[in-house]
Symmetry: none
DNA sequence: GAATGTTTTTGATTGTTATTGGTTGTTTTT
DNA sequence: AAAAACAACCAATAACAATCAAAAACATTC
């Protein structure tokens, strides 16, 4: 058990339970008190956690004004935790639709199931999935140069041939009355079709997507489950209409 | 066990578990501590991993996972004279089929024409073309994990809908009597169809491809033009049958 | 194709540095 | 005040970089 392994174990624990106890870590990591203490000191120094008497807690920077960089980092971390949670829903023999976009991309490195099939319209997604040696099917069609997503009639036609056990969609806006919306109508059409062909649809949305309305409608809130990372203020209005899973 | 074998084993391990330990590698690769240490130092230098005390960890953060691939791609880009020559044949308003593979990939950075459409079965190709803001159409279908090429029935069906002014194909073997051949029959079928749907077909072949015969036939020599970089010894036998363009 | 010299790769050795677990005595919690 | 958690130190150990000679792979010559 080397240093970095302990670090990642500690951070993982922390991410799950929000708090870690030194003596529990001693047992599960099978090392001395000194080592744990040093690890926690080091991780605190790097800003990954805050030490407390008996262990450490998550470094929650609540109502502080965040710098732009911190915000970006937070966003990425948020996406990562959403991705991790979403990936944990995947089980063997699933046939997945994975929408293009950075939020869904965060799922890929977290996928644990080893026998699944993934259909995607993201060419970067396909490449990463191939790296993981996952059974991947790429939708064909016009490449949208900015996002490297496949869109257009061909992709729609292809998608008609497939059925999914689970679909994971990114989204631009979520709103109580307007549902899930996205700026590009072609992308919206693809997302909508993927949703219709899937037994369950999960919409992945970090905090920046809530209470936003974009141009083209994808689906109503009632039809999908939403995975998010942030505690919403007006959560209850949404909960009346849909299932919200907090990562 | 040669160096490259160890490298790929290490990277494979790393990809699976995210972390490798020096002494475990010593055992599983059956070599000395020094060798492992040298390997890790080299792989770190090339940016494939990050060394830590006791081993190495993955170098990854979301899209950073692309970095190893990108490096490989960058290496290919521009360094190849065949790619440069092939790219110079492309003119505005062309509709191109670009086969997957490293040889054709070398074309992309050399493309000068600004209004063209490219259809490709290579997902890395599509990504690079999108970066250059070229009108790109990606064939859909099953992703071949090793080469990141699209193959299978879906891609064949899609390809039937397109016609090209020029097709650029990679190939594994060229032989006077057996013509152009490649190991994978599915890939061969796709190449063949692209060739049949194109006004002109160029086969890109570096010196390692000559006088080789692979399993599945793509086309006869008479049907295509061959772009190569190396001066052949037995050039004249080929020139009786086909056009050879020296880059 | 055997014999030669050259380059590359490898494993062992060296001394150096980083990590670890135990000890001490102090601070915090109950 | 007792128990738990803590920081600071130290010696043992593990991992490290640097170096060198043997071995392997390579190219060259006869």
């Amino acid at each position: 058990m080397i240093t970095e392994e302990r670090y990642s174990f500690i951070l993982e624990q922390l991410n799950e339970s929000g708090i870690v106890k030194a003596n529990e870590l001693m047992v599960s990591l099978n090392c001395s008190e000194s080592t744990i203490r040093r690890d926690l000191a080091q991780l605190e120094k790097s800003g990954a956690l805050v030490r407390i008497h008996g262990g450490a807690k998550k470094n929650y920077q609540l109502d502080k004004e965040m710098s732009y960089n911190e915000k970006t980092i937070k966003n990425i971390q948020g996406k990562n935790s959403i991705g991790k949670y979403a990936a944990s829903l995947i089980i063997n023999n699933d046939v997945i639709y994975m929408d293009a976009g950075t939020t869904t991309m965060a799922m890929i490195s977290n996928i644990k199931a080893d026998y699944i099939t993934v259909v995607t319209n993201g060419i970067l997604h396909a490449s990463l999935l191939a790296d993981k040696n996952i059974n991947t099917i790429q939708l064909g069609g016009k490449v949208k140069n900015t996002t490297k997503a496949i869109i257009g009639a061909t992709s729609i036609e292809e998608l008609k041939n497939y059925r999914f056990t689970k679909a994971f969609l990114g989204i631009n806006g979520i709103d109580v009355s307007y549902g899930c919306t996205t700026p590009d109508p072609e992308e919206a059409a693809l997302k909508k079709l993927a949703h219709e062909h899937s037994a369950v649809t999960y919409v992945l949305a970090d905090e920046s997507k809530w209470d936003k309305v974009s141009f083209a409608k994808v689906c109503r809130l009632e039809e999908v489950k939403i995975i998010t990372d942030s505690p919403l203020k007006n959560l209850k209005y949404y909960q009346e209409k849909t299932t919200i899973l907090e990562a």
